[in-house]
């Protein structure tokens, strides 16, 4: 059973997160169910990791979480629409403390949706423009094997922690 594996049900909305105890420069969510509720769980999990890992202001924090959300929302809403919405996606975020670059990759094995239909244009289709405005760089590779969205954020400073961090207060 792989549904929701490893994801906390806790809504973490304040900076007082428990930090990941190991492998703090990397966030990984594998084989995530491509649906709205699981994408929401992963967003919370990613937010708590980012809040622990990165020394950034509230605006930058919001920008990054929104951009990553939009990449996941694309996978959750559209990638598997042709097969009844059943599928998985993966999220990996890596922060390089030296280059201060945060790279977030969202990949699925579904289909890329090329454009909105006319009646949807006003109310939909802002995810990709948002990603492009919020990240320093966005690449979207789609093929018959799936889609990989890669977001790059620059000047994401690390918090200076000791080697083992249990809690942040």
């Amino acid at each position: 059973m792989t549904t929701d594996k490893g994801y906390s049900e806790l809504a973490m909305t304040t900076p007082n997160y428990s930090c990941p105890s190991a492998d703090g420069d990397r966030f990984v969510a594998s084989e995530v169910n491509a649906d709205a509720i699981t994408a929401s769980h992963v967003r919370h999990k990613f937010s708590s990791w980012l809040g622990c890992r990165a020394d950034i202001d509230a605006t930058r924090f919001s920008d990054i979480v929104l951009a990553v959300n939009e990449a996941m929302a694309n996978a959750a809403e559209f990638a598997y629409a042709h097969v009844g919405g059943i599928g998985k996606f993966d999220v990996e975020a890596v922060q390089d403390g030296h280059s201060r670059i945060l790279t977030v990759t969202v990949s699925d094995q579904g289909r890329w949706r090329h454009s909105d239909s006319t009646e949807e244009k006003r109310t939909r289709g802002r995810g990709i423009p948002l990603m492009q405005m919020l990240a320093e760089d966005v690449t979207i590779d789609h093929s018959p094997l799936g889609t990989i969205v890669c977001l790059r954020f620059e000047n994401v400073h690390s918090r200076s922690y000791g080697p083992v961090v249990q809690e942040v207060f």
């Binding site: 929401s40 769980h41 920008d63 809403e77 006003r122 109310t123 802002r126 948002l130 405005m133």
Partner: protein
């Protein structure tokens, strides 16, 4: 991480306020509440996102749809302030389309009879 929605009437102005998260999971709730409020013949509708901590593009789409389904003689405004709400609305150019106000008082002053 859910979304709580309240409807409050000030005279014939309806204030639909959301708190929490407005994303692809919860935005249908907001959309349904707005649609219901519009059936009660308000003179103006204010969508108050002051207590929203996360607004995704799905929620922005609901705001545009609400603006589109509101008759032109009914006042319409959105209250939002902060990096998670008013900032992305401005970035995608929706501030002017939906009528963005920083506080509920400002929206009421502009829209209430």
């Amino acid at each position: 991480m859910g979304c709580v929605i309240n409807e409050e009437w000030i005279g014939r102005t309806v204030v639909v306020s959301a708190s929490g998260v407005v994303d692809m999971l919860t935005s249908p709730q907001l959309e349904a509440s707005i649609t219901t409020s519009l059936t009660k013949n308000p003179s103006a509708i204010i969508i108050d996102l002051s207590n929203v901590e996360f607004l995704a593009s799905a929620g922005m789409g609901v705001l545009v749809a609400a603006r589109d389904q509101t008759a032109s003689d009914i006042g319409f405004g959105v209250v939002a302030s902060g990096p998670a709400t008013s900032r992305p609305l401005k970035l995608v150019g929706l501030a002017d389309i939906v009528g963005l106000y920083a506080t509920l008082d400002e929206a009421r002053a502009a829209l209430c009879e």
